[in-house]
Symmetry: D2
Subunit: 346 residues, 4 copies
């Protein structure tokens, strides 16, 4: 059994990693770190895991983590991640980093949107952990930068179009809606139940959300030329789920059939992408708890615009599930090991 | 006291009209019709109205309604409305019709999106009941076509821009999200609690929602030339509220300050439009239960796009509240009579 | 106009007081204190109040508050309240205290459940602000101890029975369920959206909730002899509402008809108690946003037990609405002034 | 692989059976019947099952079902079940019936609460499918009557006490709260999203819910003498979960420690019962999607009452999960096969 560590086990992505790993056939959880809950059972922090996860949270240093684990999931915030990852790699460990620290290839862009980078030398080594695009690179990576939740839903939604060079790059508008778990488990007024329930609101409107450079990096790489997008995130009164509604003008005429063919070609054999039939539309409740990304294509014949809708569970395919998928690739396991659970509905 | 009737009192908009009228200083509810609940107290159909609304639902014909009411709210579905409105007008009654039947000026467009029109001769008489634009016409109208919920949120969001001819008319993309009350109180699987809660989905994607011709009629009239929009509705797991996120390219350069000035000029004295300061964003929970429309303007400097966000309560400003506002104008009452209730939060 | 102050305006009960006062015909809000939001508009703290409440939060001392207000609502936590109330009373102001500090008549009981009392001399002066029981005393009170949310729903549910001496006092079991706003607006993990939504849990099980001595004091006073209850609170995934399901054995045989008569006699003319017909049951959504308490009586013929169900909006009748009702009585206003709003449904 | 059929696949319990079976190591779904969706993919009826469940709903007669399946899950309503089960048994099939038709041992009681029974001769053969109590009988049963959702949560909560003869049988009061999926997927106004969300209500108050005879049968069998209970169900605005708060007076003095010992003895090795430490309390969100029953014991020292709280997912342990557990026992599979999924939180 592969010994795995979760650094930062008390956040929602940490808890979800523990949930997914407890049924994994080839990996086991040997380390769960937490400063705040040092000495407490993780199943006390997350009582749903009682009887399934029998590990005590510890406030451990790098040396101890390295000693007890072969692969390390970093589930700490950006900036914290860049401070701990180098030691893990130096010790020959494999790392899946769920933070933003190693996602952006251009350190200047990173430093513009975040803060100075203390481990910029590792950026070149990091592989962007979107298996549908970088599967082969991930297999041999020692450091995988696990994608952001919004970028996952958006990049999967647009990849076949960008690759086919069929989108007018100046027309991409992305309207995304996320469940509240995306805001994390930190106590704050804005995500209290009474503030969020029975309501809906946008946030960071006007091109200021930090996932924008990641989205643009992904789409530009696929297109082979620079792409700029308008991106507006919204907060849904649901716990899990991201749904992105993506509007594009095509750069040349194409039938819906031709476009579907592009998606079919790219995703037809993907274990975690479900292309919906015409007439079906994604819904976050249909992917809840699973690693699926559901995608539908819709042509607005009145305006000529293509509307792509994609849905994921933000803490599975948008975070911890994708991290396990990356681990599976890095370690030669079946890609869907530990991820076979069907979505939970209702 | 003005005697009012609600034709179709058992739907959500009917119940809401009763709620608003029970505190109205100059109007009283004298007729509530319902085929299904004939003979039952409306407060049995809507127990929240116990002790406040003391009226029995009746399955009445036009003659009886005409006999007992001075102003009639039609809260029945489209097609049903066009069959009952003519008799009311013939009898000299004032009518606020909450259906789509008299909203579209071009009967051919109506018949393309709905079905044959049996009272097309009345369309010319109908005034579109958006007081912020047609206040003076409403004052003297005998038939007011109360706007749709989505068109209200969108038209108010865009009107100052369209009037100023500052929008590239080919670039308007509207991503709207509605609470489930918009789907009405009819029993159907798709709006059961378990189907909707903790989830989110789009519907009628690709330019096929019936509110599109109404939106385009409004925007075209304001712009003075034909406008086509992309419009995507989504279903929110909230009971009340519509939030529209609207993306436009400007047709000429303009500062956010200049644009704010256009909105300030048009809405500065409006009783039910609240322009948010830069840095504030609308949220459906901040207009819940009230007749307000909250609007914010956001410039995405990276892409040059303007993003307008507007929020209303779909069954108040988007239906019954606006209907009362129209009644107030038609009858010379204070425009905010019965509508002074502050939003309910949390 | 009566000048009123809210001490502690940033909590949910403070915000709700501001909402209710903004439509009050005889009272106006002249002071809103807040340490945290000193200098900010209250409508910035509570954006739903934009355009309705135009007051700036201030971190004021007693002298300034006394100077600017005639009646003071204390919406600060217990312990804080007892430190500020004496000065207000010394200055001849009327006070409605929403905390627990002046509710318990026996200071020893208070100190057992809370902490030492620094203003115990004022307890005797305080009138318990449940108008349905202490209306006349409230009219002439200078200090009203506004009841707790659970005690309001429970005392109103049981009062006619206790007064009639028809309940076996050893058999009272109260199972209450509260909306999350009862936990306040402080940032804490336990009331985050993701922790509460789509879930349900009890808390403080086993006779340890601080509202127990208040409930028992009320019931004992009505019965004229000591009463002990089992009380279990639960947390509902709703923002507003308390529903209490109360089980009692009768101490003598009685028909449901006879019992209904007791309730009818006590509450028949009450403006804010609605006795439901047999066959109807309370629901929190039917009192949402209103000052109503809905009560139904149910006899389980198989076990001989009586089951009383009562529902209120915890921040209206359970806090701020009842505080306004008390103010109305203390100041000779119409008892329902500012409280006429019908419940909001859906 | 065991071939299984779901008769009545379009309800929520049918969909959940399909979800659980799709990961079962020893059973496969070969038949899914539905009159309404004849000819449609089950994954069209339940889109969350896309790519996981590849079966077409058919409106089949008994002969065809018998031909294609070895074990049959009846997920049709009571009365319908009694009409189809006999043929399955005659053909030598094993049956797990999720309806109420074979749960009550006394046909007179059944007919009092339901309607005439057309297959009363089979009642004696049916084993009540609560593995924690009837495991051995289930192993050799050909017809298992799968317990009701409320009775499961209540019987597991009380069984050790009843067996130990330590409860005063006249004092049992059960206050239960259920998620809305318990009301099924039929279209009805009362379970529309807008009617249920942000609200809470009791229903069937006063000893009239049909689960009462089942609860009393279970408790009486455990106690060895007749038991009557007060039972009040409530409707929660959550999709899944039942939480029961159970109040009892003990018939003799006992410490919490002694009582815990009874539960530990009965459930210590149970795979799906989790006894919570003192200080922890069940929550429906901690069992969501899993087959667990979480139980906590609480002594109210002020009143001497014991308060037991139990929580299950009503469509897993309260229906389909327990049905799979029963199938596992009947077929000699590992008892937790297909049921190892950890709860989903948040």
């Amino acid at each position: 059994m592969l010994r795995t560590a979760i650094v930062g086990a008390s956040g929602y992505t940490g808890g979800e990693l523990a949930r997914l790993l407890c049924n994994h056939p080839a990996a086991t959880l040997t380390v769960a770190t937490s400063r705040q809950y040092d000495g407490q059972l993780l199943s006390k922090v997350y009582p749903h895991l009682r009887d399934r996860v029998d590990i005590i949270c510890r406030n451990l240093g790098s040396a101890e983590i390295i000693d007890q684990a072969d692969l390390i999931f970093c589930a700490v915030p950006h900036k914290t991640a860049m401070n701990v990852v180098p030691a893990f790699l130096d010790a020959g460990k494999k790392v899946v980093d769920l933070s933003a620290d190693f996602r952006l290839k251009d350190v200047a862009v990173y430093e513009q949107w975040y803060q100075p980078h203390s481990a910029a030398n590792l950026i070149a080594d990091a592989v962007y952990g979107l298996p549908e695009i970088y599967r082969e690179e991930i297999r041999s990576a020692r450091l995988v930068a696990n994608p952001g939740c919004y970028p996952t839903s958006i990049t999967l939604g647009l990849a076949p179009l960008m690759k086919a060079d069929i989108v007018d790059p100046d027309t991409i508008i992305i309207d995304s809606k996320s469940g509240t778990s995306g805001a994390g488990r930190a106590a704050q007024v804005g995500t209290l139940f009474c503030e969020v329930t029975d309501g809906f609101r946008p946030y960071k409107v006007g091109g200021v959300h930090r996932h924008i450079p990641e989205i643009e990096q992904n789409l530009s790489a696929l297109a082979g030329s620079p792409v700029k997008v308008s991106f507006t995130p919204h907060l849904l009164p649901v716990s899990r789920g991201i749904l992105s509604t993506i509007y594009v003008n095509l750069s040349r005429e194409a039938t819906l059939n031709e476009i579907s063919g592009l998606y079919q070609k790219m995703y037809g054999k993907e274990p975690f992408v479900r292309l919906l039939d015409s007439g079906s539309l994604p819904a976050t409740q249909q992917v809840r708890g699973s690693n699926y990304c559901d995608i539908s294509l819709n042509l607005d014949e009145r305006t000529g615009r293509l509307i792509i809708v994609s849905a994921i569970d933000n803490i599975v395919k948008g975070a911890s599930g994708q991290a396990v998928q990356n681990m599976n690739l890095m370690c030669g396991f079946d890609e869907d090991a530990g991820l076979q659970q069907a979505p939970l509905f209702p």
